[in-house]
Symmetry: C2
Subunit: 147 residues, 2 copies
């Protein structure tokens, strides 16, 4: 249901501490699709023999696939449709492997009313361990700036 | 051709100022594929009517699609296969639209031999204007740490 601003959620609806998450099991098909879409056929992602001989001992997902899952939480859930992505930092802590279930959580950590900017801590976990963390900054339409 | 380290390029081969780039025209199919892969069906990306009524006046690509192109340059060209993605910052400056040709350039800006860390400035441009900029940090295998 849309609010007075015409979006699912206006800047004024956000509160520090609010959070949303999604869970997604990464498949071999996801990695193949990401490679085809991005053009990133780095053998760490697509060549099991090469990856087996590497320190990771097997294929790993593209780091930006986790980045895409963060973007999905932001664009679909919190702040949700209508927000404008301003910046994202990503720290790749651990590899994500085929079959891993990535739980991606975004939590509002700061709100700057003058610029309608929201800051969110963005974290991807596998089995409770952080695989990617970082921070997102988004501009969120206010209730007086309806589209 | 692989170097003594067993990778296309070892840490010792890198020099500050070295750069690589790719060009890619973003298609409607790319945006649809990214939405299907990520689960990010934000209407700014997939609903032309909604996007027409927004400040962008039309659908825009997912920001992380540009992120994926950066990852492609890093993983395929510079530093290339064998490197480990440590961190990435992304500043989304302007929208990328269907039909835009994104030129993604990565340039080595710093080298930290003790940790085999390379820092690269990562920039996506459309028609010469910066649409995304940021910085990447990667660990690059040294010639004495062959896989």
């Amino acid at each position: 249901m849309r609010d007075a601003c015409g979006h699912d959620r206006c800047f004024e609806d956000l509160a520090v501490g609010e959070a949303a998450e999604i869970a997604r099991t990464v498949t071999e098909a996801d990695i193949a699709a990401f490679a085809a879409l991005s053009g990133d056929f780095n053998p760490m992602h697509v060549d099991e023999d090469y990856a087996q001989a590497s320190p990771f001992k097997g294929r790993i997902a593209h780091g930006m696939l986790s980045g895409a899952l963060i973007s999905t939480v932001l664009g679909m859930k919190l702040p949700g449709p209508g927000c404008i992505y301003v910046a994202q930092s990503l720290n790749f802590k651990r590899p994500v492997r085929i079959g891993d279930t990535v739980v991606t959580r975004c939590e509002v950590t700061g709100l700057e009313p003058a610029k309608k900017l929201a800051t969110l801590r963005t974290t991807c976990r596998v089995g409770g361990k952080v695989v990617v963390d970082g921070e997102a900054t988004l501009m969120v339409p206010g209730s007086r700036s309806a589209a």
